[in-house]
Symmetry: C2
Subunit: 445 residues, 2 copies
């Protein structure tokens, strides 16, 4: 779906990041975000941060886990490894040496809608590093002798999940709450990875890694014009658009799923629906989640952990995409306390949406201050800013400045949050548990 | 040991952070670090960072896991919880509300030599937050009704380690490699936590939480004079020094320890000695560790993961303290590959110290660039800078600027690293494994 979003503006398009400023060549210097669509069709977002010597790079290519062919689930996990093992003229060792020589920390996270290439480095090294980074996507070697070791590693990663029930319960939750193919683990499946052939890796990458649907963000010590000019050169000749994803929301099974395992803790994860990023309700929902889980005065922390001492770890987290939103809550506790922990967790999620449980002005105030404080702190990290810009573009088609988001929070009132909560639907909920025994699920919406 | 380091300078002492500048009231504006010993005896380090709106606070109090009485191991873990549950006039809820209202993210990490209080917030809120934060250390309530829930949580945290073999193997390694009492897990023990009485919590905290041996660092949007003045007021009347720790290096058992567990992965951890921070060898050792594990061209990544595909996760990490240093390496792999993984890991650690395995000029170059790059990136985070200053003060008695550390790295030559490696001793090594079967340990130094 979002993977197919293709740039529609020409290479000279250059607009500020706020929605309220007029489009055109003008730049809003205050929020410092420059957005361009390069000739090839890829979107480029650049934010210069003052007082910063590093630059964060985030590049999403429409080849995420949801794009994997149904009988090759995990091919994206193999690509993530292979992109780090040689590109262009440089074999695996030479390419790694070259990037390390420039002091580039990098990674290739597999996400649902994208394969990411992320990097942090000194701004002064960016011009030297970009050719090496671009080669990872445009000319990965996928040398024959790398394929089997990579397959092995990917299978090991799945295997190691067996020793990590806290992570595994999240995989179970996503698989059941979201419809296929956007319900997949980033690790892939044993069957899918075992079936992948060397030729498929190369051919399918060629077909997937397209500028249309790709987006790159640079944040920190970076000059937008120079970076854009260099990227135009490096990406010349790249063309086409990634595959359009579709799914049917109605196909997700949801409900309750339990895995019996003689773990010492019971791991409980809960998911419910929420507004998509572009929906008016996304900011009120974010405040509501902060009331539930935003700080040590959050309701979950207070009710589940502090008052009842039910668990060591409890949280709720709200995430959005272009067309949907989702809140995921987790509690890990002892088998004896598991049922009560689940009941209290579900109770708090529901209570927030009732008249008696409405958000108080004090809670609202704390939530808003905490959100703004975290916004500033994460805004001081070049890597976090680059990642946020790419996420914004994927969800909204544009990058938002910290100032815009702060203003959005400042405009909220507690009544907005309560009105939103009363009118919001959680959808049918999903509960996943891992532990010695299944729990009783009292209510599903 | 280091916990007893007490400030010897008066309240007007104010010196720049570099060792080369003359002491006195003068400030080295370039590196921006101001160090003072407050009237109470606590050291205060302040670094103003330009272009930053947040401030990071790190405060170490000499009440770490190593300070726990031998029959109350884990009392520090209980304090870490209790410090977050009410202080001064404010009960648990009111105190949490007050800090959340100011947007203060905080934590209370238990370390070997200190109980930490860490916070990140907007610089503009610091003056309002400091009284609340100071109360956590000087006037924690430790209300009766909080004690049992906290004890329960601490016991649960230990219990949850059973589901986390990757973390557990590190606990085993530390326990065996370091001498008592500096070999303890930050979680404490079931016996120790079960034995703690409510009165002991309050009385022992009173005895431990002293200004002598305490150090606070503030980094980011902060004015040193204003902060020092406010802290002088808030800490007036606080006096005394923390307990002096002693240990006998010779008492650590070291060698090989295995825990049989039907895990899916085998978790292998290795420790060897290295230079203390103040030793000339600490920087060459840091470069050597970067050659081993600093980037994707690092030897471990190349030899263990990439060439042989032996494991998904492998790394080595060198850490220092005031009087000792330690390198910890980890590899997680399948039972079939475990023996070879351990052998290759040990082989690479040894080879680095041989003539054939010496660090090449290219490796040296990459390691140094990577270290400097990471230094800059972490230097842009106010929280990371505050933590680094406190760590520096604990190990060296002063804070180091990024400029000083960069200059130190720039002064190194590859010959220095190889000379250091040839002359360095690993001490007797420790190996800890968790998995279905014990491994064969071929060599221990």
């Amino acid at each position: 779906m979002s993977g197919a979003r293709q740039g529609s503006r020409g290479p000279i398009d250059c607009r500020p990041g706020t929605g309220i400023s007029p489009a055109g060549m003008e730049r809003n210097l205050m929020d410092r975000i420059v957005t361009r669509t390069l000739s090839c069709g890829m979107a480029l977002l650049v934010e210069r941060m003052s007082g910063v010597k590093s630059v964060g790079l985030a590049w999403n290519v429409p080849a995420g886990s949801a794009h994997d062919p149904a009988d090759r689930v995990g091919i994206s996990a193999m690509w993530a490894e292979l992109l780090l093992r040689g590109a262009g003229e440089l074999d695996s060792r030479a390419h790694a040496d070259a990037l390390d020589k420039l002091g580039v920390s990098r990674g290739t996270p597999v996400e649902t809608f994208a394969l990411g290439v992320s990097a942090t480095l000194l701004g002064s090294r960016l011009a030297d590093a970009l050719p090496l980074i671009v080669d990872m996507v445009r000319r990965p070697r996928m040398d024959e002798r790398q394929i089997e070791p990579v397959r092995d590693l990917c299978l090991q990663a799945i295997e190691s999940l067996k020793d990590d029930p806290q992570e595994r319960v999240q995989v179970m939750l996503k698989e059941r709450h979201a419809p296929a193919p956007i319900n997949r683990s980033s690790l892939g499946t044993v069957e899918g990875i075992s079936a992948v052939k060397a030729d498929e890796l190369r051919e399918l990458w060629e077909a997937r890694a397209k500028p249309g649907g790709s987006v790159m963000a640079l944040a920190g010590d970076v000059d937008a014009d120079a970076a854009a000019k260099q990227l135009e050169r490096l990406l010349a000749g790249w063309s086409g658009a990634g595959e359009r994803l579709t799914w049917d929301e109605g196909t997700a099974p949801r409900g309750y799923v339990h895995e019996t395992d003689q773990t010492n803790q019971v791991h409980i994860a809960v998911a419910h629906d929420g507004p998509a990023e572009k929906d008016e309700g996304s900011w009120p929902e974010r405040v509501a989640t902060a009331v539930l889980s935003g700080g040590m005065s959050g309701r979950l922390f207070t009710e589940v952990r502090e008052k009842r001492g039910l668990c060591y770890s409890v949280y709720a987290s709200y995430g959005t995409d272009a067309t949907f939103g989702r809140t995921v809550a987790y509690v890990g506790t002892t088998p004896e306390r598991a049922q009560e922990s689940l009941d209290v967790l579900m109770g708090e999620i529901m209570r927030l949406r009732t008249e008696e449980g409405r958000v108080t002005p004090e809670e609202f105030q704390r939530a808003v201050v905490g959100m703004k404080s975290k916004l500033v702190t994460s805004g001081e990290s070049s890597g976090a800013r680059a990642a946020a810009l790419v996420r914004d573009y994927h969800r909204l088609g544009r990058g938002r400045s910290l100032e815009e988001m702060t203003a959005r929070i400042d405009a909220l009132k507690v009544e907005d949050v309560n009105r939103h909560l009363r009118g919001s639907s959680l959808g049918r909920m999903t509960i996943a548990t891992i532990g010695p025994q299944a729990l009783k699920v009292k209510r599903e919406t």
